[in-house]
């Protein structure tokens, strides 16, 4: 009985990795969002702090969505 251990192992290894990456990106987005909120609340929305936070939010969530989208594309394709 031949068992393809490599395929099994890589499938599961990749799963753990993707989970951590996607969840991590999302959480970074939340952290950036929090920073953005603090900046805006301080009236410093336009400052460097506020702007970087906003960039961070957009990039993190975009990365998250991109990863998910790419994954689905791979599966559907």
């Amino acid at each position: 009985m031949t068992i393809n251990w490599a395929a099994l192992g890589s499938t599961f290894g990749v799963s753990v990795l993707i989970t951590l990456v996607v969840a991590g990106a999302f959480c970074l987005g939340i952290a950036a969002l929090s920073q953005r909120e603090t900046a805006v609340a301080d009236g410093a929305g336009g400052s460097l702090r506020g702007a970087t936070a906003l960039v961070g939010v957009v990039l993190s969530f975009a990365a998250c969505a991109a990863a998910v989208g790419y994954g689905l594309y791979l599966i559907a394709g």
């Binding site: 753990v16 951590l20 970074l28 929090s34 998910v68």
Partner: protein, 401 residues
Amino acid sequence: MEHMTFLVTVVIFTALAFDFTNGFHDTANAMATSIATGALRPKVAVAISGVLNLAGAFLSVEVAKTISGGIIDEKAGIRPAVVFAALIGAILWNLVTWLRGIPSSSSHALYGGLIGATVVAVGMHGVDFAVVVTKIIIPAVASPIVAGVAAWGATRLAYRITRRSSASASGKGFKAGQIASASLVSLAHGTNDAQKTMGVITLTLVSAGVLAPHSAPPLWVIVASGAAIAAGTYLGGWRIIQTLGKGITTIEAPQGFAAQTASATVILTSSHMGYGLSTTQVCSGGILGAGKGGGTGQVNWSTARRMTYAWCLTLPAAAALGGAGALLADRGTWGVVLLGALGAAASGWIYLINRRRPIDASHVVDGAAADGSAPATPLAVVPAQAPAPTTTTAATTTAAA
């Protein structure tokens, strides 16, 4: 030939009935944590889940192919009657575990039924055990562990990264995250579970000579399977939602998010490889992992144990039921008819038992377990994020037990 076509039709309807029971068994997997933390209202959650299951059904057919061409050797002489026996066995197991609120694996019920019925009707050579081990047994055992590890890691990561975030940002963020990840789980579920029925129907059509061996599922099969699972998803599963949302561990939004992201990822990657795993087990593993990784690290091990017993029992039990059904079906037409009648009677009886103490949407969000039919567990402390309005509404409209 007339009666062959009628039997094929019956088998197809039975397969769709299995799909339907699969739907309400598995809604909980995707939506239990979101409902328990209040991220989504129960009815909205199941509606979303239904739609996405349907979409997922179209996304990939790898698992269907594992079933229709992989584990069972189509040329060994499988007859529609055998598939029928397998389905009856699987459906009965699904209904019994549903009644007890146990999130067992519909997938394993189906595989068990198929294997048992095939072995009885055709003999051991009808089953390709190498494929069974590679694409079913090993993923079955490994995937919940993988999901648990991934969820644990993601939970630790989530708490660490958002340690200094404001409550409002993380509250909003994780609620949105939960909705997104729950949606992904529903989609993933469609890629794995709706496939099973497609695979079974395709197998039936091949065994009846309607399709050539190794065919991919035809479009109408895909649509019908997707629709059946979506309908089952929307209509219920409150009993199991109650167990998954409250019975295993206290679920906070970040944990729910981590558990679901892990589950969706494991299911999607496995579906892509044609591994027919148990979405139920993967989601439960994810919730356990997230529970361990969370604030208290408390997990209700007795519920976990009950679930493990049900899991280990499922494939053999369904195999036994499927095998018994095949014995009956082998006797000829009257056997098949009797089998159908028994299956319908047992299902009706289970449904009636459920009506005596129904569990519905209102039972899954408020604090108290409505009746003793849910597993007796120390009730999880309702986390601070649970919105008050939902709890109040549920408390005032709790259905009479």
